[in-house]
Symmetry: C2
Amino acid sequence: MKKVYNFNAGPAMLPVEVMEKAQVEFRDYENSGMSVMEISHRGKTFQKILDTAEENLRKLLNIPSNYLVAFLPGGATLQFSSIPLNLLQKEEIGAYSLTGVWAVKAEKEARNLGYKTTIVFDGKEKNYTEIPNLKEELLPENAKYLYITSNNTIYGTRYSQFPKCKKIPLIADMTSELLSRKILVEDFGYIFAGAQKNIGPAGLTIGIIRKELLEIPKKHVPILLDFKVYFESKSLYNTPPTYLIYISGLVFEWCLQRGGLEKIQKTNEEKANLLYKFLDSSKLYYAPVQGENRSIMNVVFHLKDKTFEEKFILESEKEGLIGLKGHRDAGGMRASIYNAMPIEGVIQLIQFMKAFEERYYK
Amino acid sequence: MKKVYNFNAGPAMLPVEVMEKAQVEFRDYENSGMSVMEISHRGKTFQKILDTAEENLRKLLNIPSNYLVAFLPGGATLQFSSIPLNLLQKEEIGAYSLTGVWAVKAEKEARNLGYKTTIVFDGKEKNYTEIPNLKEELLPENAKYLYITSNNTIYGTRYSQFPKCKKIPLIADMTSELLSRKILVEDFGYIFAGAQKNIGPAGLTIGIIRKELLEIPKKHVPILLDFKVYFESKSLYNTPPTYLIYISGLVFEWCLQRGGLEKIQKTNEEKANLLYKFLDSSKLYYAPVQGENRSIMNVVFHLKDKTFEEKFILESEKEGLIGLKGHRDAGGMRASIYNAMPIEGVIQLIQFMKAFEERYYK
């Protein structure tokens, strides 16, 4: 098997150990003669997979008992709709911090559904290279939640510190960083994350919600988007994406075996620091994001001489370093180094980048 | 590996050949060094998987060019919401034929979202053992669509003939029978089917829509539920459930290799006929559904002496015949014999049932 390191922003690499285990039991789960794909979602075997997955996620994130967990179908985009539908009355306001395209889409969707919003930060002018320092006391009085994207995949930024919200819930799209570092769940009202970065295959979203938010009155909410219905049914209102939940469960186990989030965060910081240190010392490459809000998941960088970009992509791919082309909105390059990317992958990337610089730029 | 036949209503058995192929290339798709789960949904490799899947589905169902195909996230339940949201104005009416719980849920959801409905048939009194003969000319004038569940998994019924709708679109939930028999797509406005019966793993829904239905004006529709957005983006508005699409694509190839739907339908009828013939000749067992509307996918049957039910389940499981317990709403037993169930499985079931009857009932 060809050895590649996949730096794609997502769907992303999954841990080798998880993939090996899943391949072995692909057709025959626990000597049942059936694949996890083929078993009933109402049976004991799947119930155990689901319960264990939730239990391990709770352990990893230290989720308090007044929070419910759900494995939601579809990607994070569906949550852009669910959030105002579940949390706002038509005369109320959702406050959005626009640190990138995904937050922009979330805010636009609230308006698309007929809700009012307020923009508390807009990073567009600086091409989303900055993260604000938000204060709850500066929000409009009728704002019912504060919405943030905790890590911005496209631009390589993140909130190193989260805003403290005491009166209204803080809502965080953590798609590209959930499970990559320690967080304090009680600082948030609702956390959600599409699986395809640190959690599992695409098509599944993790939701973690403070119970009291289920009691907000609402009407005309599509039944599967109704937080109360879905969270209280424990992800079994209808047939959930069973196989995707199973793979995610294996990833949670893997995270625990690696020593939990404290250990994982340390490794992630080490990987990102190696790369940023190299970028900051290079003559060819530079990182547009500075300071503590640099993402440790998505390292965005540019080549000072753009004419080398195409060659950079071609040659990196030849060496098995896949998916380094940046998002069209940010340009340049991006190395997504999620939990499953081993430090060896980052070291190999730096070696390639060094050699490329020496070969063409000196 | 233990040999089992899985008669669960879904998630159901997948074809052995599909599972073998998927296991082999699980970690290394086409020598890429990556799993299909790990590749970008915006790359050439996945685009080819998606395009081939659509192309093969079009071949199988002979889908005309004025219909669009989409691989939708989540289960069929999400479509219960999408249908009125996309096809009705608030003063208009959706007509529903209630042949079972799933149609009941679809109609209830339309009302939950604030739309008006009319019930053109209600099979509740006869415990949903009957299928109506619906006539478009008998529908109320302001009805904008006629909604049916084409095969009723729980009760073992199906429309052997579909109503002919010339003025308004016929909408069909074909979750438990799409790809099991030939249909004429042009008879329908919108066909949808959750994947977990004949198509692939749970968490994916196939949608086939007549293009003109995308142009109906609407507002406040959650963006992923907006048919125009999703169908015109060719399933790539956001990150779709890539791995589930891949497995479904393998199933479509398998269907073509088996000779297409004509051949598959013939085999399915053969399997169902064997079983119904046995039931009709038995002293212990009987089928509550009579006539041409008997489902060829879900064969529901009862034991005349209910005290044998528990023993029947226990002993069948011991012989590797899994998932025969009927749905709680219908009671009794149910053998779901989707495309992937080989005729040998049905023969073994009949042999077991015969032996059981002889052992205890004679």
